[in-house]
């Protein structure tokens, strides 16, 4: 018996295949539908100034996303997301995956915060019928924006103990700098990327991590200084 289980067709769906094999690069019909007819994107921010805001990415790296949530506490005391509005700067898969996420979060009366916090990019991809492999890490950022917005909710409703920080992750693979180091730098007063780099040298060996550093900077600034 072959001990290696061959990859299923489903598992390969999101893969980039050789250009000689058709379709490899291109998007599924679901992706195209959400790209050409995006659901729930926010046109005009005026009415959502009081909504809970989450941000992720930077336009310099090619993808940036903002998410606005409305959260209601039902009579049963459960907090549910009733509205998910978004804006995305990015390619087709970034737009489609945010659109799909907005549908997933708000369908069937909306997810509870607990459920929403568990959402992962893989689930969004599954609903989209797969994405080209190299698109995944850069364009499926919606779940992070969602978590960032939920943290905003916790902060504004004074449930700071519930704020979830993704901890102990290596950000700069070359210099082995973790998100803790970034957090520390922010606490020590670094409030720009330049100041963080001055303290940690993050990104000098692995510039690809800079967008993530910017994101962490924003997160910790919000968390500790509320701006």
């Amino acid at each position: 018996m072959n001990p290696i289980t061959p990859a299923t067709t489903d598992a390969r769906k999101g893969d980039v295949v050789a250009p000689t094999k058709e379709k490899g690069w291109f998007y599924t019909d679901t992706v195209k539908d959400h790209f050409f007819h995006p659901k729930n994107f926010l046109d005009g921010e005026e009415d959502y100034k009081d909504a809970y805001l989450g941000m992720v990415g930077s336009p310099a790296c090619g993808d940036a996303m903002k998410v606005w949530l409305r959260i209601n506490k039902g009579t049963d005391g459960v907090e549910r997301i009733t509205e998910f509005k978004w804006k995305t700067f990015g390619c087709a898969s970034a737009i489609a995956s945010t659109s799909m996420l907005s549908v997933m979060v708000t369908e069937n009366e909306g997810l509870t915060l607990e459920e929403a916090l568990k959402l992962r990019p893989q689930q969004i991809m599954e609903r989209l019928g797969g994405l080209p492999n190299r698109k995944v890490h850069c364009s499926v950022l919606g779940d992070k924006a969602l978590r960032s917005a939920i943290n905003d909710y916790y902060r504004k409703t004074e449930q700071t103990d519930k704020i979830i920080v993704e901890q102990g992750r290596i950000i700069d693979k070359v210099l082995k700098i973790t998100d803790h180091d970034i957090e520390e730098a922010v606490l020590e007063g670094a409030d720009t990327l330049e100041k963080i780099q001055h303290k940690t040298k993050v990104g000098t060996g692995d510039p690809s991590c800079i967008p993530e550093v910017e994101q962490l900077l924003r997160f910790y600034k919000e968390k500790y200084f509320g701006s």
Binding site: D43, P59, G62, R134
Partner: protein, 427 residues
């Protein structure tokens, strides 16, 4: 739906007249030019005739034209082949000039510094095609050469004084492209060539050799190697309505070059491999046709190009990329701020319009265009850059259709975008 193909800088469709002259060489005259029988001889004659045509159009000699598999091979051969073949010669030359007493020399004669006889030096520009940049970066990485990558100004032009400043006795090769494939800027190749000639004369040296990648220029500009003062020139079929997978490298007579491929000794033992006879015949015909019709077609395209650029630049928050006048007649490159190029490209595709983008999302490397970045634009603007490249099939109606649909697409994507860049950073 009517397809509007505005991606001629990526590749051109073939001219039917080119397809026609290629036909006999697929089946009827399908001999190997190296064979001594009649069919082989006919094939050899066809290759010789193609070589003569190309030599005539370049004002070169027959034995200076080398057929290759395309632009990438020609560029690689020029770069790697020259560095490898000339390495010893230039190092000995530098050695012979080392440690001399400047007062012994003729006026202006320069003496090599101690570093000069360690590594050959190569100069190129920041906006070169990857087929030139990548082999050079590789040679630099493995320690074979010292590399200078010249900057360009915001219009994409290399400054001749920068070339002059960076030249040294150990400079073995200068490689600057004729016209850029992304922004269409035409470099002052003849002026750079003259500058290099002057340097050689002044310093009594055969170096540096001068290479230009003229793939994008071949369809629009006269390519005369004597007027351009180039020693090596790359050109291919796929940008001039000819076949893909075929190109030439012009190598000035007497220049030693190391082969990339060894084998049966074809192409004066520099490029082994059975000649791609139909493609070679097609390349010569395509080059002849574009050069014959150059003036008329350029005049037609320039009108359409300027109409398109003017129409698109009416959209707010746009920035024109490239040189306003020293630019290919078919190229319009514009950054649309706050939106991402791949998304715009796919919305245009849905309207039947085929274009390219400098956005990272549309490249396999996930890096945005090095050309747009080299002109001093930020990552954000590079991600939003779109290239419209016109060609034989482009009509005024096509251009007007693009001008009509583009504002709606940009507006739609901006509605979805959280980004709102300040234009003061881009003007």
């Amino acid at each position: 739906m009517h397809t509007i193909y505005l991606d001629h800088a990526a590749t051109t469709p073939m001219d039917p007249r080119v397809v026609e002259v290629m036909q006999p060489y697929f089946i009827d005259v399908a001999g190997n030019p190296s064979s001594f029988h009649t069919v082989g001889l006919r094939a050899k004659e066809a290759v010789t005739e193609a070589r003569q045509t190309i030599a005539r159009l370049l004002s070169a000699r027959e034995d200076e034209i080398l057929f290759t598999s395309g632009g990438t091979e020609s560029d690689n051969l020029a770069v790697m082949g020259i560095v490898k073949a000339q390495r010893q010669a230039i190092l000995s030359f530098c050695h012979s000039r080392a440690g001399g007493n400047p007062s012994d020399g003729s006026p202006g004669l320069r003496f090599a510094t101690p570093e000069d006889d360690k590594k050959p030096h190569v100069m190129t520009s920041a906006i070169e095609h990857h087929a030139v940049l990548e082999p050079l970066l590789h040679l630099q990485k493995i320690g074979e050469i010292e590399l200078t990558v010249l900057p360009v100004n915001r219009e994409g032009l290399v400054a001749i004084k920068d070339v002059r400043t960076a030249l040294k006795l150990s400079t073995v090769l200068v490689s600057i492209m004729f016209a850029n494939n992304e922004i269409g800027t035409i470099e002052p190749i003849a002026d750079i060539g003259r500058e290099i000639l002057a340097w050689r004369k002044e310093h009594i040296t055969p170096y540096p050799l001068f290479h230009t990648d003229a793939c994008q220029a071949a369809g629009a500009i006269e390519l005369n190697v004597e007027k351009l003062h180039v020693d090596l020139l790359t050109m291919n079929g796929s940008k001039i309505y000819g076949p893909k997978g075929v190109g030439i490298l012009y190598i000035r007579r007497g220049i030693k070059i190391e082969p990339l491929m060894r084998g049966g000794g074809q192409e004066r033992n520099i490029r082994s491999g059975t000649e791609n006879v139909p493609a070679i015949v097609g390349l010569a015909k395509a080059f002849e046709l574009v050069q014959e019709n150059r003036e008329t077609e350029n005049a037609r395209l320039i009108k359409l190009r300027d109409r398109l650029a003017e129409g698109l630049l009416k959209i707010p928050k746009t920035r024109f990329n490239g040189h306003p006048t020293d630019r290919l007649p078919n190229c319009v490159n514009i950054s649309f701020m706050d939106i991402e190029g791949e998304a715009a490209m796919l919305y245009l595709d849905a309207q039947g319009i085929m274009i390219s983008t400098g956005s990272a999302c549309a490249s396999s490397s996930l890096d945005p265009s090095h050309v747009i970045l080299a002109t001093g634009l930020s990552y954000e603007a590079a991600h939003g850059s779109l290239r419209f490249s016109l060609g034989h099939s482009t009509t005024k109606e096509d251009v007007d259709f693009v001008i009509a649909v583009m504002p709606k697409i940009v507006e739609r994507l901006r509605q979805m975008s959280p980004v709102n860049l300040d234009m003061k950073y881009f003007n």
